[in-house]
């Protein structure tokens, strides 16, 4: 391997590729050649750096220079200035949103300072399409260690001691899950990796597969050894073409090296992995639904028990874990259960990856130790609220989770605290909302999602969520009553209590948590018919501020229902009864004379 003095790591995640990172890589290589630096600098396409807000990202090693929003046109300058002459290109450096200073070393970025990267340890660090880089970082050493030095029972025991809990949603102890699958006797068993990430606004599993497929493959093989399975299946969303490609490459490479296949590392253990594609059904994140989908059926969940650990894929004992859970596992075996258990809180060990999005400055993928507070995540890592607006709520756990408010900002984040606060960890989506977001509308948005994604098998979820959505629509349309709020609550509780699978059992959470934390907002909608955030069209009240109105008549002409009257060059008036709240006048007014309530 050539000894390069400089590595230029370019994010090749989906987000950055969407903003031309492939062209950036091509141009950097061309420029390097042009300057004759082929032996000095190497361009490496890596997985996601997490800092998706400002992609494409180019990170220069060894000086940790972090260039953001790099365009293909910037490449010549990066090579000729930075690589050749050692001068940083300042205009491309990340600018701290608070101090407005350029930060040269990514170590000093607030975004990275509080992060601990375990599941993402290789993302943005290695070339995911090169198994050598993974091996150089101790890749497959954990598998080697487990296969040669531990019995399956010992290996399961270690995982139990580490305290790792499933990262897919419920937080079930992973070691215990393996133990159950191991205890069921069968001629064949299966290890399944759930990569059917479906939460709107969560993309950590995709990023891990794009950036570090090998760690998932390695963990699946370890799991196979522990539970006595020689077949692994990855159930992956078809909408993730890049992750699929990288995973396929990784599997091929592992096979070529004999790290998958028969008699791995001469230990007699054999393990193979094949891919199964999801086809756009959120409910397939539920493990029984996922298994049915892999069997070529409609992805409808079935009553548990029997659990997949007893009767899963093709009726055989099956262990299902999600991508992030698997990604944690090799390190645990290398560093030990005690090391892992030393990170995090008493009942939630290790780290959690969150997809930070919404009205926040630093949108992206972060990995933080369990027990960190929302405040740290949102204001330190996330860089605070966009455009200096006021923080209102943060939604965690996607459509299964709830909204947390100001009063939860200092609550340490872990599985149990989030549940206690009426939300859940879920897969780790974290959507930040500001004062402009109407919480009733947010609840409606999530219900719309659930209604669309409900499989239709059980009545409470199929019909109940539809009715919840209709009630919320009624409230947003300004036709709600206080009785509706009562009804909303009862219906939510019954749906939670009676639904067949996790989807229905959690789908009312966005409603219940907003009802609890933002009851004022609901009451304002039904009593005063006001949407404080000004989001609900039907509840907007348009008035003309006489002082600012010049009587230009632009609004009169724009109004489709002739609700605005007034003499030329005299202040105009809106007839509230006629107004259909379309907002046309507001858009047309050049003098900010129209006030919306």
């Amino acid at each position: 391997m050539a000894q390069y003095k400089m590595h230029l790591l370019v994010c090749g995640g989906t987000g950055c590729r969407a903003s031309q990172s492939e062209e950036v890589v091509a141009n950097l290589n061309t420029e390097i050649k042009k300057q004759g630096l082929e032996n000095d600098a190497q361009v490496v396409t890596t997985g996601c750096f997490g800092f998706c807000e400002k992609g494409p990202i180019v990170k220069i090693i060894p000086d940790n220079t972090f260039y953001t929003q790099v365009t293909p046109e910037d490449c010549a300058e990066i090579i000729s200035e930075h690589v050749l002459k050692g001068r940083r290109v300042h205009r491309l450096l990340y600018e701290d949103p608070e101090t407005l200073k350029h930060i040269e070393d990514s170590k000093h970025m607030g975004f990275y300072q509080k992060q601990i990267r375990i599941a993402l340890r290789n993302c943005g660090f290695i070339d995911p399409e090169n198994i050598d880089e993974y091996i150089a970082r101790d890749g497959y050493a954990a598998l080697g260690k487990v296969l040669t030095e531990m019995t399956p029972a010992e290996a399961v025991d270690l995982l139990k001691k580490s305290g790792l809990r499933g990262r897919g949603g419920g937080g079930f102890p992973t070691g215990l899950k393996w133990e159950i699958a191991a205890s069921n006797k069968s001629d064949e068993k299966y290890v399944v990796c759930n990569a059917d990430e479906g939460d709107p606004g969560a993309f950590m599993d995709r990023s891990i597969l794009e950036g570090d497929s090998h760690s998932v493959i390695e963990a699946m093989a370890i799991c196979g050894y522990c539970i006595g399975a020689s077949n692994g299946l990855v159930y992956i969303r078809a909408e993730y073409p890049l992750a699929i490609k990288r995973l396929q490459i990784a599997i091929e490479q592992a096979k070529e090296y004999g790290l998958l296949g028969d008699n791995i590392l001469g230990t007699g253990f054999s393990f193979n992995i094949e891919l199964k594609y999801g086809a756009g059904a959120f409910v397939c994140g539920e493990e029984t639904a996922l298994i049915h989908s892999m069997e070529g059926l409609r992805g409808e969940p079935t009553v548990k028990p029997p659990f997949p650990a007893e009767k899963g894929y093709l009726g055989k004992p099956t262990n299902v874990n999600n991508v992030e859970t698997f990604a944690n596992i090799p390190v645990i075996y290398l560093m030990g259960a005690e090391w892992f258990a030393s990170i995090g809180t008493e009942k939630s060990k290790g780290t959690k990856v969150f997809a930070l999005a919404g009205k926040i400055n630093n949108v992206g993928l972060i990995e933080v130790p369990m027990g960190i507070t929302l405040r740290e995540v949102i204001f330190e890592i996330g860089g605070g609220i966009k455009d200096g607006k006021k923080f209102k709520a943060v939604q965690t756990g996607g459509p299964s989770g709830g909204c947390l408010t100001e009063k939860h900002l200092d609550t340490p984040i872990d599985f149990d605290n989030l549940v206690a606060a009426g939300s859940m960890m879920g897969s780790g989506g974290m959507i930040v909302m500001d004062e402009d977001d109407c919480m009733v509308s947010i609840a409606k948005f999530y219900l719309e999602f659930t209604v669309e994604e409900s499989c239709g098998k059980c009545a409470p979820c199929r019909i109940g969520n539809k009715r919840l959505h209709e009630l919320l629509e009624k409230i947003c349309d300004g036709k709600g009553t206080e009785d509706d709020l009562e009804h909303l609550k009862n219906l939510s509780n019954v749906i939670k209590d009676t639904s067949l699978c996790g989807l229905g059992q959690t789908s009312p959470n966005p409603v219940l948590s907003t009802l609890e934390h933002f009851s004022d907002e609901y009451l304002a909608h039904v009593r005063e018919r006001i949407c404080t955030a000004g989001k609900c069209k039907a509840l907007k009240l348009y008035t003309i501020i006489a002082d600012k109105c010049t009587g230009c008549t632009a609004c009169t002409r724009a109004c489709p229902v002739a609700a605005i009257t007034g003499e030329k060059r005299q202040p105009h008036v809106i007839d509230v009864d006629k107004c259909i709240r379309c907002g046309a006048c507001y858009d047309k007014c050049k003098f900010s004379a129209i006030y919306v309530q």
């Binding site: 499989c455 019909i463 009715r467």
Partner: protein
């Protein structure tokens, strides 16, 4: 594995390991309401999707409510089946289901028989709390000659899907779409006639609401009865008399042959005949065909097709036309009793009474929906005039009797009319699985061996197991017999034959569980298979009570051959009593 103890509503009960909460509760007389759950244990048919969530109960230590139909008991389990939480949840869920169901109970053909309606009454639903103009899921209506689909009324219990796929292996139906718009339908939500549907109607038999209902020709019959220019005669299938009483509150298994005849006569039918007569005729033809094939086989004819398959079940005929078009020459060519009756009625009998074919209306009362389809097949029409004009089901006959304010219970028994009302015990047992082949054996044995049977009951051919086999010795010659009921079992047998795994001489197949007694036109069993068991016993009781129990001894059959047909498999027989099959392969 021994027993375990659970506590339900403060009552301790010991149950077998593996019992569900629902079963355990039943053991101590607690009747937890269910809707989608159905267990026909005599036929090993179970539908347990756990989808309706009506049967939820509270289990101590569990976060959410548990569906009692599909939650196994564990030792020390504590269950509450009627806490406020449970009752509120059940009621709310039922309201939800009702909110997506047309509220037109009064004019629904399932009114009074609907499980959903019964639950609404039981829960005392007086109002459905939903937003005004709440969306309801609506679908294209579909009418076929045998059954109607109005999926607006579907509650996604999936019973029909289970029956159509797992039990009958027909595969006409599947759950389609997702979420609120999900429904059970044929591919592309097309009409059933364009699907591989066999019209066995078992989906209708298990539908808890009015989503799947029979196609009903009753109004046409009333019109015909009122038309003085028409002579209207009726035939009643053997299974009807063993079930009709249930519609009038009599115990399952009560034989009501005499009352049924009286009611039909009272309704104005000119003659009340018996399909059992035609069943005897079927035995003459089918038995002769069987003997012919066996004799040729024994004599070394390699071309002969064996086994011979019975052909009296119209759903079964539809099934093999769709799924086994390569084996169309295997089944007997004999028409079903319903069609033999129609054919003889419109020729022999019409001549006898001097009525023109088009003025004679033949009505059949059948336990079956496929019969409605069968009587409309083109090959059973002469110049567009069908041999059997209308076929209505047992349930529809009951409605007709009720509508005509006939007090069924108080009717004096009456006798069938002659000549086509005379039948033997062999004709009666056509109504149960194994009955046709037993009837055939009774006759074929005597014809083949020339000896009188010592015993008439062939117990080895009876029972409710899905697939049964037996060997009967015709003297020295062993005759291997296979019997299957439910089309899934038929498929297994047929596949075995296709692969050359079996060496049967004769096979009887019935599409419905238990044979015609479990037909889709019978009073609804509401998931209780003991009802079918009771009818089964009633049929054999009727057989035993008959003085003549072998078809070839029916004097009117003998007369029919003497006066009209000549002999079995004669040219006239071929023309009037036999048929041919078509390749209807569909995907």
């Amino acid at each position: 594995m021994g027993n375990i103890k659970v506590k339900i509503d403060n009552v301790e009960v010991e149950v077998k390991r593996g019992s569900t909460i629902y079963q355990a509760a039943k053991q101590i007389g607690i009747d937890i309401p269910v809707l989608c759950y159905m267990n026909l244990n005599h036929m090993q048919i179970e539908n347990r999707p756990g989808g309706c969530r009506i049967c939820v109960v509270e289990v101590e230590g569990r976060k959410n409510l548990a569906p009692s139909c599909s939650t196994d008991c564990f030792d020390g389990m504590v269950v509450k089946t009627k806490s406020i939480r449970v009752l509120n949840a059940r009621k709310t869920v039922l309201e939800l289901i009702l909110s997506d169901h047309p509220p037109k109970c009064l004019v629904c053909s399932s009114s009074g028989k609907c499980d959903l309606q019964e639950l609404a009454q039981r829960f005392g639903i007086r109002e459905v709390h939903m937003v005004e103009n709440a969306e309801v899921s609506t679908y294209r209506k579909d009418a076929s000659p045998a059954l109607n689909r109005d999926m607006d009324k579907c509650i996604m219990c999936r019973r029909c899907e289970t029956v159509c796929n797992d039990v009958q292996t027909v595969g006409a139906l599947s759950a389609v779409n997702r979420g609120f718009m999900s429904v059970v339908a044929p591919a592309f939500e097309q009409d059933l006639v364009d699907s591989p549907c066999t019209f066995c109607g078992q989906c209708v038999a298990v539908c808890p609401t009015g989503a799947l209902t029979p196609y009903d020709d009753t109004p046409m019959i009333i019109r015909a009865l009122a038309d003085p220019s028409k002579t209207v005669i009726v035939q009643t299938a053997p299974a009807v008399r063993a079930a009709l009483g249930e519609e009038f509150g009599l115990n399952p298994g009560t034989l009501v042959t005499g009352k049924m005849v009286a009611a039909l006569r009272s309704l104005g039918f000119d003659k009340v005949f018996d399909t059992d007569f035609a069943a005897d005729l079927t035995i003459m033809e089918e038995g002769a065909e069987l003997l012919d094939r066996i004799t040729r086989y024994v004599n070394g004819d390699k071309e002969v097709k064996l086994p011979i398959l019975t052909s009296c079940c119209p759903a079964w005929v539809n099934f093999f036309e769709v799924y086994f078009p390569d084996m169309l020459d295997v089944p007997s060519t004999a028409r079903s009793p319903q069609q033999m009756f129609g054919s003889i009625a419109k020729t022999y009998y019409a001549d006898l009474i001097g009525v023109k074919r088009e003025d004679l209306v033949v009505v059949s009362i059948m336990p079956c929906l496929a019969k409605k389809f069968e009587c409309q097949r083109d090959e059973f029409k002469v110049d567009g005039n069908p041999d059997v004009d209308y076929s209505i089901s047992t349930r529809e006959l009951a409605s007709l009797i009720k509508a005509a304010n006939i007090n069924f219970d108080k009717l004096e028994d009456e006798e069938f009319d002659l000549p086509m009302g005379e039948s033997t015990g062999a004709g009666v047992i056509f109504g149960v699985t194994g009955g046709v082949i037993e009837a055939a054996v009774r006759t074929a044995y005597e014809v083949f061996t020339g000896n009188k049977l010592n015993r008439i009951n062939f117990e080895e051919l009876r029972g409710l197991a899905g697939i049964r086999t037996a060997t009967i010795y015709f003297g020295e010659t062993p005759i291997h017999i296979g019997i299957a009921h439910q089309l899934g079992n038929a498929r297994k047998l047929l596949n075995g034959i296709r692969e050359g795994r079996y060496n049967f001489h004769a096979i009887e197949i019935m599409a419905c569980p238990g044979g015609c007694i479990g037909g889709a036109g019978q009073p609804l069993h509401h998931g209780d298979s003991s009802v079918i068991k009771a009818r089964y016993e009633a049929i054999y009781k009727e057989d035993t009570g008959k003085t003549i129990r072998k078809s070839h001894e029916n004097p009117y059959i003998i007369k029919l051959y003497e006066d009209f047909l000549g002999k079995p498999l004669s040219e006239k027989s071929h023309h009037l009593l036999h048929t041919h099959y078509f390749d209807k392969h569909k995907i």
